[in-house]
Amino acid sequence: MTELTSLSRRKFLKLGALGTLGAAGVAALAQPHASATESPPPPDAGVIDHEAHGGNLTVGDVDLTSPGAFDPLKYLAAFDYGRVSTLPGGQTLREWDIFAADKEIEVAPGVYFPAWVYGTEQSGAHVPGPTFRCAEGDRLRFNFLNAGAHPHTIHFHGIHPPSMDGLTPVLNRGERFTYEFEAKPFGLHLYHCHVPPLKRHIHKGLYGTFIIDPPGGRAPAREMVMMMNAFDTNFDGENEIYAVNTVAFHYAKHPIPIKVGELIRIYLVNITEFDPVNSFHLHSAMYRLYRTGTRLDHYEHTDMVTMGQGERHILEFTVEYPGRYMFHAHQSELAELGWLGMFHATE
């Protein structure tokens, strides 16, 4: 494991020197995750907390403190707007330097996964990748460098010329390509690698959320991004770990603080590989479900939505009472394998 980490680290540094990849981005990427030999997993070796969902939880916590560590709470609202400038015609131009790389990530306390990740200098490199955010009509430019060992691309959902759909060119290690198109239509989209074998390229972690705001924006709200994802840690074609935003049970152990009466908006994306569907159920409250987020006037009022891979919806709700609001996949198996979290509402 040490070997793996250090080898990858060396590789990143070499590739950084190879291109114009931002030094800070490389530094963020090069931060090793704790590994067995360097710092062993939680030495407390287990906690039994009967209050916590009847024992159906992981033991310990993932590393949140070392530089470059992925913090699911911070990821929720980490929107990456890119470098903004104005084109001669008055159109807003947003530009990102995005790279793909190989990185070991912690998907449950003490469980490490050899992931493929997208990253930017601002957001760092992790799974899910940075959340790109823009407004409808903006000009978008993604300068992509493949710093991973395998060929990769970026395929964006939305409307754009087919030459920008991320099927070609397939970029080998060290190669670059710039995806450029106009942001439309407004709504909730996603991006992911589109190199076969797709199953492997997606479930290894090459995906992220892509939000196009409607003209004039949406009502002010407490916003958060949730990507329903999963990891096949033993590569047998079935997932061992499910979550929203990678870390199993993280929001169950660290409830997301919200306020009673405050408008909550969740950008919910399903990227789960191998399973036909995933779902989102909220306890003690109902949400307005805006399918794909492409209409502002049309929604459904529910507490349960089932989604295939690549489906995404915007959920808006407020809670009436203080307390803990559980949310989870309503396939019990997925919930019990890590896809379960909590909001903690206070007055």
Binding site: M1, E3, L4, L7, S8, S35, A36, P40, P41, P43, D44, A45, G46, V47, I48, D49, H50, A52, G55, N56, L57, T58, V59, G60, V107, A108, P109, G110, V111, Y112, F113, P114, F231, T233, N234, E240, A248, F249, E333, E336, L337, G338
Partner: protein, 405 residues
């Protein structure tokens, strides 16, 4: 010619003039030096690449206690393994591990999982390591694991008595009837004994192969079973080889063969007791009393086999009791070991020993038949003997219907 001979004759000096102890140590010194060089220069680094470490973890034993599982894990792989999380029936579950930290090679740890397991239903426990590899242990039918208290001890002892002592004793009761049979009748019974022993040999060997599959890879279950059989066979041969050939057909010689049969059947019954005891302990008691009575019926023939060589003689009641105990009591011990301290490795060794011992007895009893046929200038493979052997196989085969599922 002479020089050649002197070269191979023992001498205290090698041809390089070194004392023998120096030349004997030299290879070890060189080996140690080579190992040191190997580890320091690591010439295999070129092969290692980005390979994840090879992990091998065995869930050796899963005990079911009220409201919890207690799992013993054993690292049989070449490198340390860190258990990161535990799942029960595809759900992550909180637990305690002792000792904590990565398990060294050959290290053991105990995982305690508070869990409301469901009586008489199956459960699967999955351990997920730091690298994301998973290792699985299955509970076939959930039932509380017996603790070695007095009641349990008696219950398992009774199990062994039903499997071992009762059927062997019942079988021995046929002795008076067997005595009235003529020479041919006796040969028929001996052939029948060979038949049932062949069945037991195959049954024991297959059982050994099956249990060997549960042994952690590093202990090489199958070779262990084969070696145990080989050593048991040769060991018993060496012991019986002390007896002069002339005494073999005497009354004492025949009693010795009977005792040998009893011993080897005892070893087989030990294995049987072990397997049944373990099955009960691992929750398969749900199979019920049918299994035990099945074994009783199945093993009655073993008594006939033990008595067969001594039908020409008049052994004392005491010798019969001793024979029954030799063949039957090991089942009691087996049931205790299987119930309270089951280990696949131990079971493999005992089943292997059982197979080797049975083979040796087949040879001995076969020799009795051959010698008798030789004396009369006949072939031992006459229709009566073949029919006896076939009947022995058939009886064992069909009574096995009670215990095989």
């Amino acid at each position: 010619m002479d020089t050649t001979r002197s070269n191979i004759s023992p001498s205290t000096e090698s041809r390089f003039g070194l004392p023998v102890w120096v030349s004997a140590l030299l290879p070890f010194v060189l080996l140690a030096a080579l190992i040191a060089v190997f580890f320091n220069t690591n010439p295999l680094a070129v092969f290692s690449g980005e390979l994840p470490p090879i992990e091998s973890l065995a869930l050796e034993r899963i005990e079911l206690r009220p409201g919890q599982f207690v799992v013993t894990v054993f690292n049989s792989g070449p490198e340390p393994v860190a258990v990161s999380q535990v799942m029960v029936d595809d759900a992550f579950w909180q637990h305690l591990i002792s000792p904590s930290g990565a398990l060294p090679r050959f290290g053991r740890a105990t995982i305690t999982i508070p869990y409301n397991w469901v009586e008489s239903e199956p459960h699967v426990i999955t351990v997920i390591t730091e690298t994301g590899a998973t290792f699985i242990g299955e509970v076939a039918v959930a039932a509380e694991t017996p603790r070695p208290d007095a009641t349990q001890f008696l219950a398992y002892g009774l199990l062994g008595i039903y499997i071992g002592i009762i059927p062997v004793g019942l079988g021995l009761l046929w002795f008076p009837a067997m005595r009235r049979m003529g020479r041919k009748g006796l040969n028929f019974v001996l052939a029948l004994t060979v038949g049932l022993l062949i069945f037991l040999l195959i049954d024991t060997a297959l059982e050994a192969v099956e249990v060997a599959g549960d042994v952690a890879g590093v202990f090489q279950g199958l070779p262990v079973a084969v070696f145990a059989a080989l050593i048991a066979w040769l060991g018993i041969t060496a012991v019986s080889g002390k007896q002069p050939e002339a005494e073999r057909d005497s009354s004492g010689g025949r009693m010795r063969i009977a005792a040998l049969i009893a011993l080897s059947i005892g070893l087989h019954n030990f294995g049987e007791g072990l397997v049944v005891g373990a099955a009960f302990a691992l929750g398969e008691a749900a199979l019920g009393s049918f299994l035990v009575i099945g074994f009783t019926l199945h093993n009655v023939t073993e008594g006939i086999g033990i008595a067969a060589p001594v039908t020409k003689d008049r052994p004392s009641i005491k010798s019969f009791i001793a024979l029954a105990a030799l063949a039957g009591l090991p089942a009691v011990v087996g049931a205790w070991v299987g119930g309270f301290a089951y280990s696949p490795l131990l079971a493999t060794i005992f089943l292997g020993v059982g197979a080797g011992a049975i083979w040796q007895v087949i040879v001995e009893v076969g020799r009795l038949l051959l010698r008798d046929a030789e004396r009369r200038g006949e072939s031992a493979a006459n229709w009566l003997n073949v029919a006896g052997l076939a009947l022995g196989l058939a009886v064992m085969y069909f009574t096995a219907y009670f215990v095989k599922f």
